[in-house]
Symmetry: C2
Subunit: 352 residues, 2 copies
C-alpha cells in the first residue's frame, strides 16, 4: 500500500521537526527558551532524566504519526504557508503522546508500542508529570509563532476546547470501565461522543489548525474539524474491532478490551440484540475484568453471534463515506485531496 510508505516518510519529517524544538539533550539555554528566564538556576541534568529521556523513549518506539500528517495534507490542500505554520504539527503529535502516557496509567496497561509502558519503566511519578508536561511544553511553539493576535486566539481556543474535551472523554470511558453506569443504558450516541472526545479531538485539532492557518472562517473551521473528528471516531471503532478479531499486529493484547470491561459499539449492539441469557452473560464477563482466555473467547463469540463485529465495521465505513459529503465542496481538488481520501480509507481498513 502506497499510503504506508508515505506515512513512513512523513514520520521522519515530523520527528525531525519535533527534535528541532524538543531535542534529546537539553541545557540551561534550552530551558530558558522553553520556560523563560530563571531568576535562580535550572537543573537541566535532572530535567533531562525525568522529562526528555522518557519522552524520547516513547517517541522513538514508533507510532504512525497520522495526526500531524493529516494536518500537513490538509494544510497543503488548502495552500497554507507551511514555512510559517508547519510546526503546529508538533503540537498535535506531542499532545497525542502525552495522552497515551495518561491512558496507560489509567487503564493499568503494562505495554506500549512493544516496550514497557512509561509508568512501568520510569515510575508513576515521572509518568504522571511527563504526561501533562507534554500538554503544555509544545505550546511554546505557538507562543513564539509570528501570527497576529486574532489568529493566535483562534488557534488557542481550538487547543483549549479540545483539551477540555479529551478529559471529558477519558472521564466517561473511566466511569464506564468502573461500571458506574449499566452498559445497557449506554446508547450508541453516548459511545460515539465518548470516542469523539477521546479519539476524535486530536484529528479535529489538526484540522482546525489547518483551517485557521488557511484563513477559513469559523463555520468552515467547524465543518473541517467535524470531518476530522469523524475520521477519528471511525479509527477508534476499527481499533476496537481489531482488538477482538486479533487482526492487530502491534499494540494491545488480543481481547484486552474485554478484560478492561470496555463498552464498545460492538458491545452496545450485541446488548441491544442478544437474548436475555446472552446479554446477562456478556455483561457478567465484562464486569469480571478477567484475563481468562476462555471467558474472553466466550464474550467475543457473543459479539460474533449477533453480527456485532460486521455491524461496527459497516458503521465505521459509512461514517467515513458520509463525512466526505460535508467537506467535498470546501476542499479544492488537487493531489492532496486524494491523499486525504486515501488516509481516511486506510484508517478504517488498516490492520495495525
Amino acid at each position: 500500500m502506497d499510503i504506508e510508505r508515505e506515512l513512513k516518510e512523513n514520520r521522519k519529517i515530523v520527528d525531525s521537526l519535533i527534535e528541532g524544538r524538543f531535542p534529546k539533550n537539553i541545557d540551561v539555554e534550552y530551558l530558558t527558551w522553553l520556560a523563560g528566564e530563571a531568576p535562580y538556576s535550572y537543573d537541566p541534568d535532572v530535567i533531562q532524566k525525568t522529562i526528555f529521556e522518557p519522552m524520547w523513549d516513547l517517541l522513538s518506539r514508533g507510532g504512525k504519526r497520522w495526526r500531524p500528517w493529516l494536518f500537513i495534507i490538509l494544510a497543503k490542500n488548502l495552500k497554507v504557508d507551511l514555512e510559517k505554520y508547519q510546526e503546529l504539527a508538533i503540537i498535535v503529535e506531542l499532545l497525542h503522546n502525552g495522552s497515551l502516557i495518561a491512558d496507560d496509567i489509567e487503564d493499568g496497561a503494562e505495554v506500549r508500542r512493544g516496550d514497557k509502558a512509561i509508568h512501568v519503566k520510569y515510575g508513576l511519578d515521572i509518568a504522571v508529570n511527563l504526561s501533562s508536561a507534554m500538554y503544555f511544553m509544545p505550546l511554546r511553539i505557538l507562543m513564539e509563532m509570528d501570527v497576529d493576535d486574532s489568529t493566535f486566539r483562534r488557534l488557542i481556543n481550538a487547543y483549549l476546547e479540545d483539551m477540555i474535551r479529551i478529559h471529558l472523554g477519558q472521564a466517561t470511558d473511566i466511569g464506564w470501565h468502573r461500571g458506574l453506569k449499566d452498559p445497557e443504558e449506554i446508547t450508541v450516541d453516548h459511545y460515539l461522543q465518548m470516542c469523539a472526545n477521546k479519539t476524535g479531538v486530536l484529528p479535529r485539532l489538526a484540522a482546525r489548525f489547518a483551517a485557521i492557518a488557511a484563513g477559513l472562517n469559523e463555520e468552515e473551521e467547524r465543518r473541517l474539524g467535524r470531518f476530522a473528528e469523524t475520521i477519528g471516531v471511525a479509527f477508534q471503532i476499527q481499533d476496537d474491532i481489531m482488538n477482538v478479531t486479533g487482526a492487530e499486529k502491534l499494540g494491545k493484547a488480543f481481547g484486552e478490551d474485554i478484560t478492561e470491561g470496555k463498552v464498545t459499539l460492538m458491545v452496545i449492539h450485541a446488548l441491544s440484540k442478544a437474548s436475555e441469557e446472552d446479554k446477562k452473560r456478556l455483561k457478567h464477563i465484562l464486569s469480571l475484568h478477567t484475563r481468562d482466555g476462555a471467558l474472553i473467547e466466550e464474550a467475543i463469540s457473543i459479539l460474533r453471534k449477533y453480527g456485532s463485529i460486521e455491524y461496527a465495521k459497516e458503521f465505521a465505513r459509512n461514517m467515513i463515506r458520509e463525512s466526505w459529503s460535508s467537506v467535498e465542496g470546501l476542499l479544492p481538488d488537487n493531489e492532496y485531496k486524494e491523499k486525504l481520501r486515501d488516509l481516511a480509507n486506510f484508517l478504517v481498513e488498516r490492520e495495525f
Copy 2:
C-alpha cells in the same frame, strides 16, 4: 490575627465564584457550555461522578485560597475592573487544586486536607484524569471573557509559561527524591529555582493576571510576577520548616519530608556545614525513605545542630523583605497595599 479572618471571608467569595462556573451538579447544557456543542451526546451522569464529585470533595475540604486572594488584593490595589476580571481568580485556584492531586499521586501521599488523597479515595485513573482536567476546564472562563485579542494573548502566555514551569519544577523535585542527583551537588540556587517553579508559579500567575488586567506594561508585569514568585518561594521554605519543627497544625505528617527524601534549603545548608560523619548520616537517612520515628528525629537533630532551621527562617524573612523593594514604587499606596504586606508576612510567619 486579622488576616486569618479576612482569608476566611475571601474563601467564601472565591468558592461562590468557582461554584458559579463549576457547579456541583451538572447536565448536558452545562457540558455544552464547558466543552462546546456535542455532535452526538454527552453522558453527564458519569462525568459528574468522575470529575465534578471528586473535584468538589477536594475543594470542600478547605485550603487557604491565598492565591486567588493575592490576585484580588493586587487587582484592587491597581484599580482593576473586577466586574470584568474577577473570575481570573477561579483559574488560579483550580490550577492549584489540580496540581495538589498530581502532587499526592507523585509523592505517594495518602492524606490531603484531613481526608484520603483523591487517588486513594476515588482511584488512580479518576485522579490522574481529574488533575489535568483541572488544568484546562477553568480556561473556558478566559475563552469567554470579553477582552481584546492582545490582552487575551498576554493572559494566555502567562498561563502557558507558568504551566510549563510547574512541570519542570515537579520534574526536578521528583528527580531529587529519586536520588538522580547527589544532594551535595544541589545548590541553593537550584533549590530556589525548583521552589520558584513548583510553588512560585501560581502566585506569579495571579500577579501577572492582575498586572495585565490593570494594563501595566510587560516590564511591570514581570516585576510584579517576580515579587509574587518570591512570596511563593518563601511560603515553601516556611512549609518545609513547619514539617520538621512540628509547628504544622494541618496537612502533612510531621517529618514526612524526611521520609520522602526531600532536599530542602535546610538540608542543603546542613550538608554544606556538617562534619563528614553527620553529612554522611543525613544523606543516608534521606535515601532510606524511612517512616522510622527515631531515624526521622535523628535527621532533624542534624538540621538543628548546624542551625539550618534558623538559617532557613531568616532566609525566608529576608526574601520577603527584599522582594518589596522591587515593587514599592509600582503599587499605589492604599489599604490594599497594606493588606498585601500583611499577607506576605503572614505566609512566612504562619503555623498552618
